[in-house]
């Protein structure tokens, strides 16, 4: 009897604090699977954001640096520049990346910093209890959008497609959007992560994988409903796939 799907080595075997059905857990595992596969556990550094994944340093069994809310790409820029032969992963939520950290992600991407962004888009502020995020869909309810996100009357703005925004910048080389709503999409997401990590090891410029991820707690849904909602509501607005791929590999 051979273990074919087992606990990745670089993920610590402890119970996480994430809610049942939370996408962060799947994404953590995918990162570790790829890290293990590439054999870089002992030269990986993850930047933990302020958000539900603030606790990620409990789970990832490699070095970590926890920076202020939204400044994850600024921190990652420096870490990668100081440790150019390390795998540097910049893990961010949608509040962290697309609200308070807008300037930092845009400029790190534009500079073509050679780390990899993992962008967990759950269309909500998870950690703080369900406020509207820049990626919250129109009409979606949040504690700060009690009648649903309303771009017109209340001037709450439109959901931002981050990959598409970053694709306009000269420094970005690889931008893909995956989802953890189904086994098939999880497999694809893993491939995107792997491509991005490999590109980083080759020293190619900025790559990021955006991942649509359920937050059952703040969406006030059961885990099953939440993954269904990712499929029914998020994916239509946030198309999956490689939004930009100008890696050398692809060029060949």
């Amino acid at each position: 009897m051979e273990l074919i799907y087992g606990h990745p080595k670089s993920l610590k075997p402890i119970q996480t604090k994430y809610c049942p059905g939370c996408g962060h857990g799947v994404i953590h595992r995918l990162i570790c699977e790829v890290i293990d596969e590439l054999g870089v556990q002992d030269r990986s550094v993850i930047m933990n954001p302020v958000g539900c994944s603030i606790w990620a340093d409990l789970y990832f069994d490699f070095d970590s640096v926890q920076v202020p809310h939204g400044r994850t790409p600024a921190g990652a820029t420096a870490v990668k520049r100081m440790l150019p032969d390390h795998m540097v992963i910049c893990y961010q939520g949608d509040g962290d990346l697309a609200a308070i950290g807008t300037a930092e992600i845009i400029h790190a991407a534009n500079r073509g910093e050679k780390f990899t962004g993992i962008f967990v888009n759950n269309a909500i502020y998870g950690m703080t209890g369900g406020q509207m995020a820049p990626t919250t869909l129109v009409g979606q309810k949040a504690t700060t959008a009690p009648y649903g996100r309303d771009p017109i009357e209340a001037g709450m703005g439109y959901p931002i497609r981050v990959c598409e925004l970053l694709a306009t910048l000269g420094g970005t080389k690889y931008l893909a959007r995956g989802s953890v709503d189904s086994p098939a999409n999880i497999r694809k997401t893993r491939q995107y992560i792997k491509k991005a990590f490999e590109a980083q090891l080759r020293g190619e410029g900025f790559g990021m994988v955006e991942i649509l991820s359920p937050c059952p707690t703040n969406w006030q849904m059961k885990p099953g409903e939440a993954v269904d909602w990712v499929k029914s509501d998020m994916i239509p607005f946030y198309p999956l796939g490689e939004i930009k791929n100008s890696l050398e590999e692809a060029a060949k």
Partner: protein
């Protein structure tokens, strides 16, 4: 009169509503109140705790560090309550989930099978109400005379039909001690 209560239970057990309703009723009875809920470092699915004080005078610290009464809704909450319980204080234990009582011999332990009683009344979710009835009877701090009116403002219209059930749970709680 000042009654300081420390309440603890599992996330979904309604400890927070219990505390809120308790102080709401107390306020309606003319008392000063403070209610301070707090969670452990674990945000998700941890233990819900509350410091609850009702008094006929201005309340000093809202933090209950030496409770006159403790409410223990589940097993995990027991050690926490045992740590803070005041010598000679009351500890009301939900014996449906906490099987072996407390090791603190210096407190007055009272067992109420809240979940069982609630289930019997018709809804296991109102175990917290059973507990509140018991607390009212045991401490005498809050009569709960205004509870029905309070529940009307507390619940949305659509849920007013559950008020009799809640009131029944209170009575059952009272009766159980």
């Amino acid at each position: 009169m000042t009654e300081k209560t420390f309440m603890a239970g599992f996330g979904g057990q309604g400890v927070i509503s219990l505390g809120m309703l308790w102080v709401y009723c107390a306020m309606k009875e003319g008392l000063e109140v403070t209610f301070f809920p707090f969670y452990g470092a674990e945000k998700r699915g941890g233990i819900a705790r509350a410091s609850v004080i009702v008094s006929d005078r201005e309340i000093a610290s809202p933090l209950v560090t030496s409770p006159d009464s403790c409410i223990v809704m589940n097993m995990d909450s027991l050690p926490i309550c045992e740590e803070v319980a005041k010598q000679g204080g009351v500890m009301i234990i939900n014996s449906s989930l906490v099987k072996n009582g407390t090791m603190r011999a210096d407190v007055k332990a009272i067992e109420v099978a809240c979940n069982d009683i609630a289930e019997k009344i018709g809804d296991p979710k109102i175990a917290n109400m059973v507990m509140m009835g018991a607390l009212s009877k045991v401490t005498g701090a809050v009569t709960l005379g205004k509870l029905e009116a309070v529940l009307k403002t507390f619940f949305p219209e659509s849920k007013h039909k559950f008020i009799p059930l809640n009131m029944a749970a209170i009575e059952a709680g009272r009766a159980a001690v």
